[in-house]
Symmetry: C2
Subunit: 282 residues, 2 copies
Amino acid sequence: METRELRYFVAVAEELHFGRAAQRLGIAQPPLSRTISQLERRLGAVLLERTSRTVSLTEAGAVLLREARAALDAVEAAERRTRRAALAASGRAGAVLASKAGASSELLAKLLDSYAAEPDAVTIEVLLCGIGEQERLLRDGRADVALLHLPFDATAGLDTEELCTERQVAILPAGHPLTGRPHVHMAEVTGLPDLPMPRWPGRDGKYPDGPGPQARDHAQLLQLIALGRACWIAPESCRAQLRDDLVAVPVLDAPTVTTVIAWPPHSRSRAVAGLVRTATRL
Amino acid sequence: METRELRYFVAVAEELHFGRAAQRLGIAQPPLSRTISQLERRLGAVLLERTSRTVSLTEAGAVLLREARAALDAVEAAERRTRRAALAASGRAGAVLASKAGASSELLAKLLDSYAAEPDAVTIEVLLCGIGEQERLLRDGRADVALLHLPFDATAGLDTEELCTERQVAILPAGHPLTGRPHVHMAEVTGLPDLPMPRWPGRDGKYPDGPGPQARDHAQLLQLIALGRACWIAPESCRAQLRDDLVAVPVLDAPTVTTVIAWPPHSRSRAVAGLVRTATRL
DNA sequence: GCCCAGCGATACCGCAGGGGTATCGATCCC
DNA sequence: GGGATCGATACCCCTGCGGTATCGCTGGGC
């Protein structure tokens, strides 16, 4: 199977429409139809059920969609990592570290400082990204290593080392009645009708249903809390970055957050190994 | 990048010889040279250092070799799993489970029995394989799920669930002085000059250096022990399969062995999910 | 020191196959 | 029933992959 065939199939499987898929791929519809038929013949499996009005995935097609995405990610990763290795050899950027924007910035700063002091340190490019994006970045080679936060991020298929564990705090607008308390419980925070939890967009860019306001990033989130429209629960290390108009109160029964450093299991380059070693020594 | 290019590159990178690589690929040498040059030009990276006598990998080439193998495994897995899904849909085999030959056969039997009793059970094909082979089988799609034994097998890049933990026993020939003891310590077993540990072939098929006799599989191993030429340390569940001329003695300070069920993280099919669920309930 | 063997690169050719246009056949909607 | 929509088919062109012949370089043998 060639990656071209996989790319074509993924396009059709996602669009469920040969015409649109062909447009997306920048080719005409007939060669696309032909390629898919060839793929089906070679695999000995019907991948798509076509009536002349609708296209739908068969069981085997669903499997191939899942597997093809993974395989294409791996191919893309190979390409990106090779390019990066060539740059590294010629003295340019060494590795890319992905971290959630706004999270654990002090840990990140300490890590980068300590690593830079290592004798064989290379340049580390930092890629700040959205929630849950790190796994994809690692899989398709845009990043070599990432900081994840359990239990929020999935670590399936990644190698990890634990770095630190911390409790969580509730972020509330200054002046809210609860801010006078030395600590609170989950139920007291999640049950506030006037301060619901904001909703985050999922991977598809859509917001889940619910009562809370919509927030796209950290700045919006903090703004919403300051405006008295929402509250939030976050690792206590975020206290260092809090604005004056926000107050953090420890939540006694919130799950603790563990920050881990993660990398794709088979690709432990010198730069990644050095970063991991430095991180575990912090 | 097309898989054809990756296959070609891997062949050259492994042979470090264009002629032999071309032969292995079943093509002539010139198109191979051309394809590699094109690949290098497109990546903007020198992958191979050629003098007219020798070929060697550059840094970037080593990275691509590693990544290309992973990517090709993923593509192969996509192909195999799709074929299998098509067969499953037409009522044939449902999933392939890999397990070390001769290991934890009672657990395996219980698992297969319990799973078969599930309402939505499909046919499970069992693939008995050699030491350390399971990871590769899972990665390239020849197997969907495997039984692994920690700390011997690597679980990097796999999702796992623990099934059971057991102590280890020393396997000795009947009549050996230590067989009268209720238990022994590691040092007493590993230090026996007359009963060294057998050597196993690695992934490359070669035997490591050392004093012990060479063994290729379980039967040979047991035969060697019965002959008084070797001893072995194994999980205690293997007692059930022991021949009369062998004796198992608990080893107090041997590391415990944990059997886990493992599967590739992104591909949790219905059959795999069912097997895992059944296994954790045992 | 010269020549030959071995190896990768280059030049050139033929054709399989990937991509394009035109069109057909089927289905849904008004 | 006619038009619109969509995937499949027929046919053509040309890219690009693979083949053969050959070159250029290098190391080793005499």
